[in-house]
Symmetry: C2
Subunit: 500 residues, 2 copies
């Protein structure tokens, strides 16, 4: 095999794999959004067959040989990275049989379906056997992977290259030490911000009108982006110019859908704004979850929760809901959406308590994969941790262990990237405020200057660099969680008039 | 190869092909409904790659051998028919290369996209080059197929097994001879039915509310059926329990969406009500287009345009649009939706003039594939035929040659099945009224008795028999177009008080 042959084999095969990825992701988006439920079992079975075929393409002998050969070559920075990532992925993939891949994919879809049913019925018992099966299969997979690494470390690295329990322990240790005391202090003063108007009645159809305004403000364009509806909002990019985000309307909480949509649009822009030269690659387009969450959490909090962001939008919101908001000023609205309180639902948590929701999931996942937990007690352990860290009582499973979709399809190791992404965001805002007159841009509706800036400094790289390298190139410094701690302490001590 | 081996090869392979069909149809449904337009070119390319892979599965050497072997065996009525249909399809398919399949599929998608753009801009010039390319590719394909048959006969048979130009010429000859004089007579009296209230302003959101009422009345259930929005309404069944129909709201014509939705639900029920034992087969689920259109046109006209059908529904429609309908009685409404006039748009045409719209397309298609037509004049030929047969002037392309999506993806030979299906419907209604107290059932909202009857007598058979055989088993008589002619002559001569 020479370089030219190897490159041809590689390029031809990844084009095919990309084609399978497209139809599989489309069908998956469809099943999570609109597909009729009685078709689930047939659809899941058919999908797992095509997943199996996609696996065969990825583990094709000649293709693997080409990757191994290209790994020995210097192909320039971009292609070197593509091949590095290909090799890393395939090294794991070839440890499984096609049947195992199909079995796992089928269990993931069954898990999704059972989770949805359980959440609707607020009954963990419906979901429990599927979750236990997903955990069992995940553990079985881990036994086939690199045994020199700890099982959960492998999962953490799947979602964020280079991250380990050691690193996350240090990170979450800092969060516990620095933020828990402040959270407790603020929780005693929680009544000093009035946010009751956020929880009045906001009909979904009218919320949908405001969603359109948000998307217009962000320049999230229907020619390349689509908004759907799901129980658990998510983003799925089928290609750079086909980005799907979903939302969900809580008729008794106007902030939930607003910030969830801004969050998902952050993901969406990241996918849309990668270098178009990367279209012909495969693995370079699999950005790390931490960096992905840094963009979404950045949109949601560091941008979305500023007064300047709502300067133009808030009057539109008032106009849609005069009965609830005509007497609420912009300043009051912003204070309310930033109010901190110990609560049950992660996606609706304020910035300060948010990382504690992640800490809880991280601790549970760590214990699951270290075998230190009684799996029959997962819901009770969940509730106990919420009591211990946030002092709140889970009253029904749907606001407890059933609140997130992630475990239903075995996304273990994903949650920590939400906190990591939030922390990266603090480093970005620190730099961005030096480079841009941010509040002026936001209050004038020049959001495209902000997205262009994020594209040039972060998003265009896709997976070309690790999150740490991107930060270093952009800010001159690798990841440093102290920006996050300082940001939260400053913001919330000021907001509540307490000591840091 | 023995029978057991051949059956195993066959069953394993069709399960894979079904899996590919599912992801391809889902992605195709997605692209026709919600997919962002800037993703089209990438998506189309990727789709054609997977189409190519699906082709490879269908033309796999061992699979073809298994089919040929099984063709020699007596496997019972059901499996014999499955293998007969498999063999018929594959005999054609193997004449093409994978590259030709991919090229054609890509051109079909490009044709769709260009048609949509042209229709939005009411400009045939945008679509023309794509249409000419689709015609050219279709002719090229025909040259590779059975040369003992006439090219257009091959296309007609693709959509309706056994149909030929000879048979359709006779059928359309009857329509011209028997119906054109009546159409002219009635056109002179067209002002005697007031249908002006149908064309007031009906906002799309409120029409959508009535769509839900229609689906409830029909028992078209969201657990197995989904309603989407497209420029050109269609039905796509991803499986027996995953049936998608689409609709489109004309804000200045309330009847368009109502009858289009009832039409598509007719298709939908046919897909949903096939024998569940057929789930494991492939080709048995490809019902003929004529029989399919017989069900949709039956719902739309033979059922949907009766007074009893609207007994319960019309008060709901009045309640949604009191400003337009409060002074219109049910009887007036039914007269209006049955009013006959020579018009431009096929999907909105009344029952009497409808087959003339089909006749026009049939004549043009026949001439295209006989090479008797100047392809650069297609739009002008279209307009000329509308002038000649219906006496109406096409004022812009979107109500002329651009009105239908079918030619954009090379569905040549499909149109005639609409008229055939309409004619089959007359034979069904004749028998059904003997078997059921139809008006009583409809006026009491017992629509599920009607669908159960259609299931037992027609729909459950799927492609087990030809349309002619199904009619013979059900009514005791093969296809006979005189029921159709009599039905139309009786109905319209009575409605307008003219001689037949």
């Amino acid at each position: 095999m020479n370089r030219k042959q190897a490159l041809k084999i590689y390029n031809d095969q990844i084009e095919k794999i990309r084609a399978y990825t497209l139809v599989l992701s489309t069908t998956s988006f469809d099943r999570l959004t609109i597909a009729p439920v009685k078709g689930n079992s047939y659809r899941n079975r058919m999908l797992s067959i095509v997943e199996g075929e996609a696996y065969s393409l990825q583990t094709d002998k000649e293709f693997i040989e080409a990757v191994k050969y290209l790994k020995t070559q210097d192909l320039g920075e971009v292609m070197n990275r593509e091949i590095f990532l290909a090799n890393k992925t395939l090294d794991d993939l070839i440890r499984f049989s096609k049947e195992e891949i199909m079995e796992f994919s089928f269990a993931q879809m069954q898990g999704n379906d059972a989770w949805y049913k359980a959440k609707m019925k607020k009954d963990y018992a419906i979901f429990e056997p599927y979750l236990l099966r997903i955990i069992e299969l995940s553990k079985k997979r881990l036994k086939k992977r690199d045994q020199s690494k700890k099982p959960y470390d492998l999962l953490l690295d799947d979602f964020e290259e280079g991250m380990t329990m050691n690193k996350y322990d240090e990170f979450f240790g800092l969060i516990k030490k620095e933020l828990l005391p402040l959270i407790k202090k603020i929780d005693r003063k929680k009544d000093c911000i009035d946010d009751s108007f956020l929880y009045k009645y906001y009909p979904a159809e009218k919320q949908a009108l405001f969603s359109k305004e948000i998307m217009k403000y962000l320049h999230f364009d229907p020619s390349w982006g689509y908004l759907g509806l799901t129980e658990h909002p998510f983003t799925n990019a089928l290609s750079r110019n086909d980005v799907r985000v979903t939302t969900n309307y809580d008729e008794h909480d106007i902030s939930a859908a607003i910030f969830s949509l801004i969050h998902e649009c952050g993901h969406g822009f990241y996918e849309h704004q990668t270098d178009k030269g990367f279209d012909k690659y495969l693995y370079l387009n699999n950005m790390s979850s931490g960096m992905h969450e840094s963009q979404s959490r950045f949109f949601e909090n560091y941008l979305g929760k500023r007064e300047s962001f709502f300067k133009l939008l808030y009057p539109k919101l008032q106009k849609i809901f005069p009965e609830n908001l005509k007497d609420v000023t912009l300043e009051q609205f912003i204070r309310a959406v930033n109010a901190s309180k110990c609560s049950l639902i992660r996606t609706e948590a304020d910035e300060l308590t948010y990382p504690i929701h992640i800490l809880i999931r991280y601790e549970i996942e760590k214990d699951i994969f270290a075998g230190k937990i009684d799996l029959s007690q997962l819901d009770k352990i969940w509730n106990e941790k919420y009591r211990k860290y946030l002092g709140v009582e889970v009253k029904n499973d749907s606001e407890g262990i059933l609140q997130d979709i992630h475990w239903s399809d075995a996304s273990f190791g994903y949650f920590p990237t939400y906190a990591l992404g939030s922390a990266i965001g603090a480093q970005i805002i620190n730099k961005m405020e030096k480079d841009l007159d941010l509040d002026s841009l936001l209050s004038k509706g020049k959001f495209s200057t902000v997205t262009a800036y994020l594209k040039d400094n972060i998003q265009k790289y896709a997976a070309l660099y690790t999150f740490d390298e991107i930060l270093r190139r952009y800010t001159g410094e690798g990841f440093n969680p102290h920006y996050y701690i300082d940001y939260l302490k400053n913001k919330y001590s000021r907001l509540y008039g307490v000591e840091k």
